[in-house]
């Protein structure tokens, strides 16, 4: 990923920013923290989590932990364009994602937009990684449709009592705090309130869930009359959906940009796999197509950035999440076929084979989590194509 493939608005200022990022990464990213070319960018535990925590502390010390935040909150006040360039350069340098990815990319921006002065005091430990965050939105009956949320908050003296069950909560097992949506009034999206939950409070129970890949990157969270103070409500009671929208929009657009590097790397590695044995022509064909798709994914992301203005997000950015999930599934499916060829299998170490297999399994969730492909298509249809809902 060398050179910006398109002329982005911002001219020499953007080039200077990019050079600054590159220089800083070259000087501050330790070799032992660099991620392998084959990597799952969506979760971490154990040694990988420790690396990401360490990287976050380095970013924080250098003032790079949250470039898109306002400077007054420890950021660098950069716009979406610069943020995307920063993420792309980190990926190209093979830097890990910071550990507190939910805190930095979702909770922080949400608090900056909706939080009280007291809640803004939560930002410094998000930046440093001292307080890890998780998101507590989805429930067994409320996946794509958050209007079905049933976890409820009841007023008590001094605040609220929250009870219910959340599911598919990434990072909940290591989180100190969570941003939670609960129902505080009848209705659908209009009866929701956003709470900041202490994950170590009495009544909070976290149960990791085992995924198809064998990892336990997300959890069920049970809340049994968890006491939440009044000043831990974000926005007004009943205005939780407006708060959530801020979080979800960011999750589905810019955040995905950080992962394109891993996709391009995987597609490149597919090509090197072909050269390690005698592989059927049709598999070579598929590999060429997927390599092209990975390049197009990256180029379309830059194109979307080049079209950023002050209005709605460009169409090219809306399709990023959808295209990323589909592309990765196809890449790892093909890798399974290529590595099954005896002549290739003989040249692939057990560790590399295990990495391909694990990513094949993990990638099945990438058209589901963070908004299913069907929801992404709905968004494209309504917001880009302006099609009326049925």
């Amino acid at each position: 990923m060398s050179g910006l493939p398109v002329d982005l608005p911002g001219g020499s200022d953007l080039r200077a920013f990019r050079a600054e990022v590159r220089d800083w990464l070259a000087q501050n990213l330790p070799a032992e923290l660099k991620v392998p070319y084959l990597r799952d960018p969506t979760g971490a535990s154990g040694a990988e989590l420790e690396k990401r925590l360490r990287w976050q502390s380095i970013l924080h010390a250098g003032g790079w932990a949250a470039v898109h935040w306002p400077a007054e909150y420890g950021g660098r006040d950069v716009g979406m364009l610069e943020h995307a360039v920063f993420l792309a350069e980190c990926a190209a340098a093979r830097a890990p994602e910071p550990a507190n990815v939910i805190g930095l990319s979702m909770v922080g921006p949400t608090l900056i937009e909706h939080g009280t002065v007291g809640q803004l005091a939560l930002l410094p430990p998000i930046l440093s990684g001292e307080q890890m965050w998780c998101q507590l939105y989805s429930e067994p009956e409320a996946g794509s449709d958050l209007g079905m949320i049933r976890t409820h908050g009841t007023r008590v003296a001094g605040g609220w009592s929250v009870s219910g069950q959340k599911v598919w909560c990434s990072w909940a097992a290591v989180a100190d705090r969570g941003m939670l949506l609960a129902r505080t009034a009848a209705g659908r999206l209009d009866g929701l309130t956003c709470f900041l939950i202490d994950m170590h409070a009495p009544g909070v129970r976290v149960r990791p869930m085992r995924q198809i890949s064998g990892d336990e990157h997300f959890c069920e969270v049970f809340l049994d009359e968890v006491q939440v103070l009044e000043d831990q409500v974000v926005g007004a009671p009943g205005a939780g959906w407006a708060v959530a929208t801020t979080t979800l929009t960011h999750e589905r657009t810019t955040a995905i940009f950080a992962r394109h590097g891993a996709t391009v790397d995987a597609a490149e590695l597919l090509l090197t796999l072909l050269g390690r044995g005698s592989v059927a022509d049709v598999l070579c064909d598929r590999a060429a197509k997927l390599w092209t798709d990975a390049q197009l994914l990256r180029l379309s992301a830059y194109r979307g950035l080049s079209e950023l203005g002050t209005g709605d997000l460009p169409a090219a950015l809306y399709l990023q999440r959808l295209a990323w999930g589909v592309a990765n599934k196809a890449i790892f499916d093909l890798a399974a076929d290529i590595t099954s060829e005896p002549s290739v299998r003989d040249e692939v170490s057990a560790g590399e084979l295990a990495a391909w297999q694990k990513l094949f399994l993990a990638s099945q969730g990438w058209t589901i989590g963070g908004g299913t492909s069907e929801i992404q298509r709905n968004m494209l249809a309504s917001r880009v194509l302006r099609m009326a809902r049925a």
Partner: protein, 382 residues
């Protein structure tokens, strides 16, 4: 489409699946799980279905086998995979090429599920291309000495004997280069202990098998010297039909789980089956599974009738495994994160287990090659 007798055996298999396999689904992926279930499966009469009664079998057809395999595979793909070797892969060539003594020695045990077997021809340099085989069986006093290395041999660690293909005439053309042997795993020099960790089919072993100066008697030779290639090819069609049936089983079960779930899961005020994106996907899944099943039955009936069926077996395997994998993928998409986790639904297991069926017994590419070759043969253009 199925006879009354075939439906009866389907019901027997379903009863076994419901009462035995579904009681502990999590346990089905434990190491050795398939082997532990084989005696119970044998006692239910569900293994030796192709064998004559004198060897403990039921004297049934390959169609019966596919019906049973589809059911078992929907609950326990690993068990169905182990059963495949005992019910089809070994008995078919053994019945055709074996001596009465060999049949009497091995078949009753595997029909009862008291012993199991494996088939070993894949090597590091010989997967789709048998010509690359390097395991050798050289003449020795009163028999042969077997040396070599096989890998990804399913069920080999648990097996009591292995049907091994080895080179006995290295300079001969492939049609007469190989021979087949029935190798007891208790013989000195047989090492099947090195397991290979796989993504799916974890209920049975997949091991590297090494043979170091294994002494075989002449009684261990299956068929004649140099008949190995013929024996392999004789068994390929029923093997592929069996694989296709198991793929149908995985896909059908995944589809049914998705169908039920989509009818119950409510989002945005309605069951998700009311969204066209879901309902049309389910319709395509239903059609795909049905088409695969018909291809399997067509191939199996041709085999039972003694008709050539290489093309039909390849078509059945290609379609059932390839399209069945997509069905499992669609099922996972419909179930969302519930399909992605190991918590409640078997969809993620079916997805992982069906994947190898696109490769084992001949890759998708080999199946396409066979289909086209058979087509041009039929046209007289080869």
């Amino acid at each position: 489409m199925l006879t009354e007798n075939e439906l009866k055996w389907q019901a027997l298999a379903q009863e076994f699946a419901d009462s035995v396999l579904e009681r502990d689904r999590a346990g089905l992926e434990q190491p050795g799980a398939a082997r532990r279930l084989m005696p119970e499966l044998g006692a239910a009469g569900l293994i030796g279905t192709l064998l004559p009664a004198e060897y403990g079998g039921a004297g049934l057809s390959l169609v019966h086998n596919t019906v049973i395999q589809e059911v078992l595979s929907g609950s326990a793909p690993s068990l169905a995979a182990m059963r495949a070797v005992s019910a089809v892969f070994v008995p078919v060539p053994l019945m055709q090429f074996g001596t009465d003594a060999q049949k009497a020695r091995w078949l009753p045990g595997i029909a009862a599920g008291e012993s199991t077997s494996a088939i070993a021809f894949t090597e590091p340099d010989a997967g789709s291309d048998l010509g690359g085989m390097t395991t050798t069986a050289t003449p020795a006093t009163s028999g042969y000495t077997l040396n070599g290395h096989k890998w990804y041999i399913s069920g080999s660690t648990e097996a009591d004997f292995i049907l091994v293909y080895a080179v006995t005439a290295p300079d001969a053309p492939i049609e007469s280069r190989l021979s087949a042997f029935l190798v007891p795993t208790s013989l000195p020099g047989v090492d099947a202990a090195t397991g290979i960790e796989t993504m799916g089919m974890r209920g049975l072993s997949h091991a590297q098998v090494r043979f170091r100066d294994v002494h075989l008697s002449r009684d261990d030779l299956l068929g004649e010297i140099g008949q190995g290639y013929e024996i392999v090819n004789y068994g390929l069609a029923p093997e592929r039909i069996d694989i296709a049936a198991r793929a149908v089983g995985c896909a059908h079960r995944a589809y049914r789980e998705a169908l039920r779930y989509a009818g119950q899961r409510r989002q945005f005020g309605r069951p998700i089956r009311k969204f066209q994106a879901v309902s049309h996907r389910l319709a395509d899944m239903c059609t795909t599974v049905s088409a695969s099943r018909l291809l399997v039955l067509q191939a199996a009936r041709q085999f039972d009738a003694g008709e050539p069926c290489q093309r039909e077996a390849a078509m059945a395997k290609l379609h059932a495994a390839n399209e069945g994998f997509k069905v499992c993928d669609d099922a996972m998409q419909i179930l969302g994160a519930l399909g992605y986790t190991k918590e409640i639904y078997p969809v993620e297991l079916l997805f992982r287990d069906i994947r190898v069926l696109r490769m084992g017994g001949g890759t998708d590419e080999i199946m396409r090659h066979i289909i086209q070759r058979e087509e041009y043969l039929a046209l007289g253009e080869l």
